[in-house]
Amino acid sequence: MENIPEERIRHIHLVKVHDLTLSFPSAKGEPAKPVLDKLSFGIRDGEILGLIGNSGSGKSMTAYSIAGLLPANAKIEEGAIKFRGKDLLSMKPAERRKMLGSDIGMIFQEPASALDPLMKVGKSLEEILISHGIKDKAERYNRISDILSTVGFATPEKIYERYPHQLSGGQRQRILIAGALLLSPKLLICDEPTSSLDSVTTVAILDLLRKLCIDMKITILFISHDISAVKNFCDRVIVMKDGKIVESDTTEDILMRPKNPYTAELLTNARLDPRKLELTPAECDRTAEPVLSCKDVSAAYTASLWGRWDENRVLNGVDLDIYPAEIKGLIGSSGCGKTTLVKTLLGLMKSEGTINRKSDNTGAVFQDPVSCLNPSHTIMWHLKEALRPYKRQMSKEDIQVAIDNAIETVGLDRGYLNRRPGELSGGQRQRVAIAMCVITRPKLIIADEPFSSLDASSAAEILKLLAKINREHQVAILMITHNIHIVRAVCSTVAVMDAGKIAEDGTCDKVLNSPESDATKKLLEAENTLHS
């Protein structure tokens, strides 16, 4: 038995983590709270294991411990990590570095900046092979071409000559996967590889990883904060909190029958389920004159180099009508022109075509709760500033009453008026932004993804608030979102945008249940795979 070399023993577990404890001791040597606390788990050969937890749960540090990429001030207090039976923690740094790439591959979160901007992607990949001692130039080139076609590039020789900025986010993520798989490692660690990609690209990348896992017999450790991302992807899931394992089971069991209350909480928070909110939007009359009507609206970003115009046409003949008290959803994948359309409708961007507004008074709520309010001024100042155009016709008392009403409508008490945005939570700020719209009694509010950076419970509250305002003030709302559930729950009609045009427009029921355009079908398919 003793004579059999370690490599020949067949291991059930590719990686075995045993009692791993990790901390960041302060410079003064005081004992610090461990980031990983006696963590033990195994990664089985050939499986896709999901590692789920909120930020600070220690999931990334677990991955870095296995890869040997811990920050310099991290200290492993105790425990062992075994890779195919070999103890990783007792190895020399140079040996561990050699394992990276050849035994363990890694992909990170930000494909946008994970490639050297000055180097052709082919050269970047070649650097990896040179570092691992492959001296023959022709061999390097062949291996790179092979891996590039494996990750789905039809013309590897062209991609080889490209610079990172010439590629899309999805293409760059493919290059990174190619780099990680170049030396056929056994384990691939993916640290939130899809969190900055849109849903269509995410589905494509996950499909690719799944295929590679089978074809190249790779084991994958998949790290994510989003429990829904692991759904159709991982075989098994480990849920982490505060450096400990909360629960570990097959994906199906975790998602359908969570045993731990924390897992259940993660599951409910991950998805805002508007169906449970029982929203009742206002009845709208689609025979009345529209509050906003666009005919053949086009817009382009231009950049000029001393007389040479570079034109990037983003809107290409948009037709859109919004009727009084209607809540209209606007969906589309990233880059389809949603944000540009919002700017155009608000008059912040020049456009061609006709836009008829029933009144000049349009409210707006934007995506980012951090930058929606001016950090230098109080909430009171914000509301007064919103009333400025009407100040002449209003007495001091009128203004006071309007401010009180507005702040009450959005469910904040008067004590908030003297605070500054820095003292408010994201949800509260969005409420103030809504109050700034409501105070001027607009006929239309344009809400540009107002929920996307809020947690599920705040998002639900804001959604309820918008529905209430719609009902009580008979305001029409154009709701730009990427979440189809929100559209289903609150919108009466929905328009789908694709490549600067409205691909489909109609009642929710019709568009979402029997889509006609390819853009809608593709979008629904991706959403269903990820979130249904």
Partner: protein, 317 residues
Amino acid sequence: MGRQAGFIISKILELLATLFLVSLLTFVAFSVIPGDTAQVILGPDASQAQLDALRSELGLDRPMIVQYLSWLGGLFTFNLGKSAAFGTPVAGLIAERLPVTIGMSIIALIFVIVISYPLAILSARRPGKTLDQIFSVMGHILFAIPPFALSLIIITIASALFSGFRAGQYFAPSDNFGGFVGCLILPSFCIALPKIAMTFKYMRSSIIEQNSSEYVKNAKGHGLSDLRILVKHVLPNSNVSSITVISIVLSDILAGSLIVEQVFNLPGLGRLLLAGIARRDFPLLSGMVFYIAFITVLLYFAADILGSIADPRIRLK
């Protein structure tokens, strides 16, 4: 290719527009603001006949636009007329003083690059550690010392310590090239010190920034060694972003040499400038000011072009 050509053409147009504005500003500063140049040169006691004679000699009786165009033409043919104070052609006076200023700038730039780059690489290896802290504090202190004050202090201390020390020796490059370079070394070093601090600070933070970037993390994840990452990824990226800084440093060095050569009694452009100012020699001053600005504009232009060649994000689309 089309994009790079477009970029270079736009930069050349910008260069020409800037040069035009620079020449206009210089002309306005010396010919319009001070009032009657002839009066300024001859003083308040000059007779009307003397004034008229000088005016027609200098061409001051012509319309402004004609004066400007002829001055502009002179700039490009190196024919700027005679200096009012020295009585010899301005271009000759400038050419005579150029070696000292250029020599000092080159030596100072060598000091800056040779000293600041290695220190920055060393410092950025372990940011926040003792070595880095010492370098950084020293950098702040050096940055705060005006080069002329530093020169004065060094001369004061050196002459107190070594009785044989003499500042202010000068050898013409045609007579004794070694001596010429030798007498420029100390002044160049004094000009270079604050710029070493500036370049060090910039390079250090640039390397640290690159080190914490995603692509370095990614390269580490592929098993590349730290040295290889430094040489192949970090330094090229830092260099591209430091091109602009170097061009600013060089123009600062050029300006700094104008003052420091006064301390060391060196016959460079600074002395000529002061002589011109003292004698209100406007033909000389306007020529010098334009040419010095011209060199600066060219430096910035060169930095832009080099940057666009080195960075594919500008070069290609």
